[in-house]
Symmetry: C2
């Protein structure tokens, strides 16, 4: 049961002046008599007057709301993106509405429609894995609501993008394994229809090539979940017992592999070195701690927020901008065959 919020009209009525005078008095307009100003401001404070944001939104045709659609917030990476967005948005007086697609195309469409009618000022989106058609993005584009893609982008749409250099990250990870003495590395790869999966694989291959390491038919395994790695790795190791390094497409898979390696009594990193990708919380929790590639979720979120704010506040329609962030190699115990002093 909502109590009546104090409005400008209320103040006007009490003071026997007009709403416009109150409005001007509150913002220190020079046209207003100092005494009137004082009266208004004091009463406003006393009654805890707060401007009604909705009325302002209607007038100014903006909601100071940014819609954020991510697959699942429970994933560390996405929640760091969100944190980054929130920080920058808040600094400019914006708030974020969060919706999850749960990797479902339909939920994504639904969310976009719903947020659109909430009159958000812009979208920040990470595509769902199952999104294969893009009419809903096109629709947003037509309506003229700005949109920024983060991490997973749709290249059929004119929109800003914030990506991470997956190729380079994978290259660095693989190079690191090689420098630590690995000569027979397996890559647990993601789905090859996603850019992420593809780029990381390419980076892996490039690093091997540059070091003149030959590629075997088992060097690349499509395997990107914890449980799959748990099953796959023991088989693989029993078949090819010279494997001495694993580069996984994400941390969770790397940790599955880690468990599997331990289960067949091979030592990490002495016998098999492991590197993941993302630098999520679990990489630090793992035992031994997991070497990984920092995907910079927080920075990505901040960047995306700045981009959307720029779009929202800009008058002219400059072309789409793509930012590619660098990754960092985070070296921990799981890959250190050679001790660093």
């Amino acid at each position: 049961m909502k109590g009546h919020q104090v409005t400008i009209k209320d103040i006007a009525k009490i003071l026997h002046i007009s709403p416009s005078t109150v409005s001007r008095a509150l913002k220190d307009h020079p046209d207003i008599n100092p005494q009137t100003k004082k009266n208004v401001q004091e009463l406003a404070k006393k009654l805890h007057y707060k401007p009604n944001q909705i009325a302002l939104n209607l007038l100014q045709k903006e909601s100071k709301l940014i819609g954020v659609i991510v697959p699942e917030i429970i994933h560390y990476f996405f929640s760091t993106i969100i944190s980054g967005i929130e920080k920058i948005a808040n600094e400019s007086g914006y708030h974020i509405i969060i919706a999850q697609s749960n990797e479902s195309y339909h939920k994504e469409v639904e969310n976009i429609q719903a947020l659109l009618s909430s009159n958000i000022d812009g979208f920040i989106i990470t595509m769902a894995k199952t999104t294969l058609t893009f009419d809903h993005y096109k629709n947003v584009e037509e309506i003229g609501v700005p949109m920024v893609f983060v991490d997973r982008a749709c290249d059929k749409v004119n929109a800003d993008k914030v990506l991470v250099d997956d190729f380079d990250g994978a290259y660095k990870a693989t190079k690191h394994l090689i420098e630590n003495g690995c000569e027979n590395i397996v890559h647990l790869a993601g789905p090859q229809n996603l850019d992420i999966g593809l780029q990381r694989k390419e980076g892996f291959l490039a690093a091997l090539n540059d070091s003149n390491i030959s590629i075997n038919d088992y060097s690349i395994q499509i395997c990107d979940t914890h449980d799959h790695a748990l099953k796959l790795i023991p088989k693989l190791l029993s078949k090819y017992n010279n494997i001495d390094g694993i580069f996984a497409v994400n941390d969770l898979t790397a940790i599955g592999a880690m468990k599997a390696v331990k289960s067949v009594n091979k030592k990490i990193p002495e016998e098999i070195a492991i590197v993941g990708f993302t630098n999520s919380y679990i990489s630090y929790i793992a035992d031994p701690e997991l070497t990984t590639i920092d995907q910079k979720g927080y920075e990505m979120g901040q960047h995306a927020a700045r981009m959307i704010l720029k779009r929202i506040q800009s008058v002219d329609n400059y072309g789409p901008v793509t930012t590619i962030l660098n990754t960092d190699l985070i070296i921990r115990k799981s890959s250190l065959k050679i001790k660093i002093e």
Copy 2:
């Protein structure tokens, strides 16, 4: 650069009829001529007309927005709460605005003020650890915006609450350790000024008492972070080498303890059994997998959302409701001294 959104006025102008007729035609009002209806509805579809939510908000004095304030979304537990809230809210046409307090009292106050002026219809809040004064909650109460506390509640304010039975959870965890043969259990406890810390400790003590197990001066250690456990446990074990069980106030601490135990070459669970609290993702990732208490974040979120919706939609001012959810013991390898067939 935002393109002009199609409004009812646009449609009215094109069809040479009044906005009110358009409005009624769109909602199938019986007063409107079927032919007019058809014209309007077809044009509306053609122009992709979408009602302006802001205008409706202003008229109906509601925003269909629920403000959610949590300490940090990167924590698995909070993100599951959010997911639960989102699901129920969406089902009723509501959206959630998320703000993080980062466990800071000031950020919490700031967030509440900001969301309040965004005219949200209600709050769902998990108190920050550093929140010790409650005027900002009182303010919300006075204004008449409904509020539900989740997990960490403020008892100085008349508001609904969704809590978890911490005492019972801790009791079950401890009992489980005892049933598995532990006779010398250490509890890594949370801060005792928070109800969570207190209740879990009490549950622990009650379980020991009920089993006639004596309590030592080192049975309770204030230690609730991964890193602290990492440092504390080795010292403790070298001093009291008969310790055979650890019950930690949260999963992260449990895993810190786990690492520490392994580092002094004690076997888990054979020599030392470990149980955590929360059932976060990492408990499943840990090696060995961690036995823990499921804190039911998703259910809590759902419950909180239902409560706030009920408040928002209710006309009369019924007294504050508190719901206490049961926890589940999730048994995994880290505690199983006795094998279950």
